[in-house]
Symmetry: C2
Subunit: 226 residues, 2 copies
DNA sequence: CTCTGTGAACCACTTCACAGCA
DNA sequence: TGCTGTGAAGTGGTTCACAGAG
């Protein structure tokens, strides 16, 4: 069972995929979407390289991880590669997302149209502030009390949580999310969280990003010329 | 001049710093801030490791890049290490930031209190929508027309731009930012941008983050057990 | 005995370079 | 001929493990 004879192409997702590859797959999918043209149109690792800023070799290597979709001499079929990438990324089905924390940032995220385009659907929001609970966020998403998370999450089949609560509440809220059976969390709270068993956690940390920029300003490798 | 005899500690910022290290330094600084206690209190790479989730060896390696601030057997002096990190990160002086694009996400960022805490100050916002230009964003930050960027940026000594415009406008706006003499940009537009000469660009891409989470949901390494 | 600073080993990811198929 | 897929080499970052300072 370790070596089922591949019917030439296709191929399942391999045991281990390098972390950086996952992010790039998402970029490839986006570029392919913008390239999508006539039936049967193809592209190449070279073109994708120009459009994505990654090297052609890198792209071939990434794609080859999942099987061989290319045709030597011709390149990759745009629409079938795109379909396969969506499938690999699991975005061929709509993903149901909960927004936990409906403050400033949280509600701004609700207004971000990119989610829908990428097949992510925010189906519920949560908060603890009495002023917000019970109302609807912009876009008509109902705001529930955090205590209702387990119930609502399972009723709504939530798969991903966006965590946008204050730092002090972040770890406890993350734990509650985990207990509610949600296994993927995108955290915006600027603090290092301990991921509960079985939970995939990714962090978007504005402070870290800004401080990194500040670092480069302060230590510009070629600051002398301006 | 390549080898001035270090007066034991201190040490300038080295030629090359690994990219991941920069982000970690920011995390160390944050944890040190939360640890700050009595005069002369110390901590160790072990403790910092617990608090940050990075390995103790990793932390020692990162810090040693910038000189030797530790004392064998005792650890690191909390407040002096913190001060030195702030200096290395360039956040011992306030950094002046412009917000370019004052839509949903942009204004939400204005409400993010973390900036001030970390010594980043949003001094101006920009937009092209007549309905927004001329008004003040929440927090009292004036919204200028994008055309005034060069003028305002230099008058206000803006060093960092936060780019929060729609995808179609992103590259052109980035170019305008570069022409205005700003050399560090944090981009929220979900698209791969070409950084103009001399511009440090960092990306925060929600779609990529969510698709990465989706990937792990779809290909959970241990999906069988739940 | 503790905890740093650091060579050396290790590992993960990337790039090179080319054989081979269309 | 053009472009993929992939061994092999290379690069960069991390971990090990320990000498040595306090």
């Amino acid at each position: 069972m370790s070596d089922e004879p591949q019917l030439s192409r296709a191929a399942a997702v391999p045991r281990r995929v390098p972390n950086p590859t996952v992010g790039r797959l998402s970029v490839y999918a986006r570029v392919l979407a913008s390239l999508q043209g006539d039936e049967g149109a193809t592209t190449s690792s070279g073109v994708l390289g120009e459009r994505t800023g990654f090297s052609a070799a890198q792209i071939r290597r990434d794609l080859a991880l999942f099987g061989q979709f290319g045709t030597r001499g011709r390149g990759y079929d745009i629409s079938s590669l795109r379909a396969r990438l969506d499938e690999i990324l699991g975005v061929h089905v709509a993903r149901r997302v909960a927004l936990v924390g409906s403050g400033n940032l949280g509600t701004a995220l609700l207004g971000y149209t990119g989610f829908r385009e990428h097949n992510f659907e925010i189906v519920a929001a949560f908060d603890v502030a009495p002023s917000r609970v019970g109302s609807k966020a912009p876009g008509g998403v109902p705001i529930h009390h955090l205590d209702d998370l387990p119930h609502v999450a399972s009723a709504e089949n939530v798969e991903i949580a966006i965590l946008a609560v204050p730092v002090d509440a972040a770890q406890a809220t993350l734990n509650a999310i985990a207990r509610a059976g949600i296994h993927a969390v995108l955290n915006f709270a600027p603090t290092r969280l301990e991921a509960p068993e079985g939970v995939r956690l990714r962090n978007v940390d504005l402070s870290v990003e800004l401080e990194a920029l500040s670092f480069y300003l302060a230590n510009s490798p070629d600051a002398e010329d301006r």
